[in-house]
């Protein structure tokens, strides 16, 4: 299936979860409760089709064909 990640098309396997996708992009695997292994605040948030997915739900949320995913973090800004 094909999803859009931060504006770019991306071919992925069916059944990919938000947690899987974040791990592919950042190398960090969140726990099933949404924690980060080193216990810090992760600094990343995810919206699927303009709905924010809370981190605790990433491992359960499977992506579907043509989903639009935005993955954001803090950058410089006034």
């Amino acid at each position: 299936m094909t999803i859009t990640v931060n504006g770019q098309p991306r071919s992925t396997r069916a059944g990919l979860t938000v947690a899987d996708l974040v791990e592919e992009l950042t190398g960090v695997r969140v726990t099933s409760e949404g924690g980060v292994p080193d216990g810090t605040t992760f600094g990343i948030a995810v919206a699927v089709n303009s709905v924010v997915i809370h981190r605790a739900g990433w491992a359960r949320q499977e992506l579907a064909d043509r989903d639009v995913v935005e993955i954001v973090s803090a950058t410089q800004g006034g």
């Binding site: 803090a74 410089q76 800004g77 006034g78």
Partner: protein
Amino acid sequence: MNSDILCIDGVEFTSRLIMGTGGAPSHAGLGSALTASGTQLTTVAMRRHDPSSEGSLFQLISDKGIRLLPNTAGCLTAREAILTAELAREALATNWIKLEVIADEDTLLPDGAELVAATEQLVARGFVVFAYTNDDPALALRLEELGAAAVMPLGAPIGTGLGILNPHNISLIVERARVPVVLDAGIGTASDAALAMELGCDAVLLATAVTRAQDPSGMATAFRHAVIAGRLAALSGRIPRRTTSLASSAMEGRPDL
């Protein structure tokens, strides 16, 4: 000055200089400038995650013990601003948000109608809203009524460095608002920040004036002192303005020369 605390949503600050991070050429230079400014609260924007970018800005600021204030910069509608705020709350674990809803990308001036709608909805969703607004006393008070934790009138459009174009309106907002007033945007140099504090603002927020200065750390130090100086002046009761001179040396007892 240690007893002169700025309190927002129960959080106490001894520094009244809120820093933005936009426009800095490198994280290292930005880190030095933030330290030099003495700031305890600093804004960040939420953008698409770039795994190749240098280090984590979030971590850089957090490691300095500085509280984060995410913004909704670039949002043109209340809907976008609310979604951005929700993303920021999720990513950074804070319910504080600097609300910016701009009318167009040339002036970056706030869109009053969208700002009002977004403030109302964000407050209902449990956010602590720092509302970036026009220097319009009526609009600022409306935002306060809707539950904004602080109102942040602009001195001049973002990034212009034109200073405070309408000091009278800023004074009107300061006189009437019960929530903290933060002069946001338009600051060019240290005296602009001192003036904002002398007008009675509770804090100053600036970014470009430091990040694009030739020596950002030097300018950040200047702003740290300017905000303290302006605050002390505001609290210390300036002399009334006069149209004629008033000698400070006594005329009595002059020698007959």
